[in-house]
Symmetry: C2
Subunit: 199 residues, 2 copies
């Protein structure tokens, strides 16, 4: 790896960090990309080469956490699906726990700004699709049915992650995210969750 990529990664981080700082201090809507570029000491056009939209500056960390977990799920085709999906959940939470303040700030910004919220939801949706794509390769039988099953499974998995994280970030402290996730899985297994019934 050359000096070039090192520098590239450095400026990337610098921009994202400065942006985050400004967002937290003055709010998403009250921070302009010019201000961010100035704070990172780069031109606005350089900033746009690294981040296609203002929203991606907020979501990069969460994006990375999810990407890592889904990728590692794809790399482990041996395990049982239910174990694999639990592992995905645990890995995401593990990654997020790496930087709790950042995660809290992301959800905070999403709560206050509709566009950020929208792009966060889209990010989650995209990873649901990625996970479904990984799942469908391990399902046999009718491919149409398999795709449907995979989408539903991936949706429920991401649903657990999302709700656990939302509870986790809203709670002052001292809540173990992975324990919360296990509770959610248990609720699902026990049939303690009100679910639409086919009659």
């Amino acid at each position: 790896m050359g000096l070039r990529e090192v520098k590239r990664e450095r400026t990337r981080r610098l921009i994202a960090d400065k942006a985050f700082e400004l967002f937290c201090d003055h709010g998403f809507g009250r921070t302009t990309v010019e201000q961010i570029a100035a704070a990172a000491e780069v031109g606005p056009s350089t900033l746009y080469r690294y981040f296609p939209t203002k929203e991606t500056l907020v979501l990069e960390f969460v994006d990375d956490c999810l990407a890592d977990a889904v990728r590692r799920f794809g790399d482990q085709p041996a395990v049982e699906l239910s174990d694999g999906l639990r592992t995905v959940i645990e890995r995401v939470l593990e990654q997020l726990e790496t930087n709790p303040d950042r995660v809290r700030a992301v959800f905070d910004l999403a709560e206050r700004n509709e566009s950020v919220s929208a792009h966060l939801n889209e990010l989650i949706w995209r990873f649901r699709n990625d996970l479904a794509a990984q799942l469908v390769r391990r399902l046999s039988g009718d491919p149409v049915r398999a795709e449907f099953v995979a989408a539903l499974s991936a949706g429920i998995t991401m649903n657990i992650i999302e709700n656990v994280v939302r509870v986790w970030v809203d709670t002052p402290d001292a809540v173990d995210a992975r324990q919360l996730a296990r509770q959610a899985m248990a609720l699902l297994e026990n049939g303690s969750l009100p679910l639409p019934g086919s009659r």
Copy 2:
């Protein structure tokens, strides 16, 4: 109801319809709000009084369908939760089947434009919250746990709706959306869905 509100509703529909037409013909990104305003024979500032963003022009119909179903769920506190949730799903699908072309076009536009997709996902998320809020009022016990349970249940319910609709709009024709939903519910009940296991 006065003449005023009638006229208001008329212009609202006119704007939304013209916008939709232009979006379908030339794409979301290639249509400017000025063009929409001109087509509806109103000033741009009038358009913005009815629709806060360009994206809401696309999503209004789906929004209305979901709003109706969730509202009616709230109005029927008597039934069993599993029946109530099934009814929500069926009502949404029923409403969407009112205008299949429109729904197909909405998901088409969302597929081609990231911002539309993001706002569609946010819309779905907002109704998940609304449904969860309705649910939590019918759950007893620890309120923190109830909120968690409600969020998970609402999430799974909306997940079924979303996936059924996505399959439905992608299929050329002749698929009964409500039957598809019953299949999804059956898969969930039978344990035929790979789900994360708590071990």
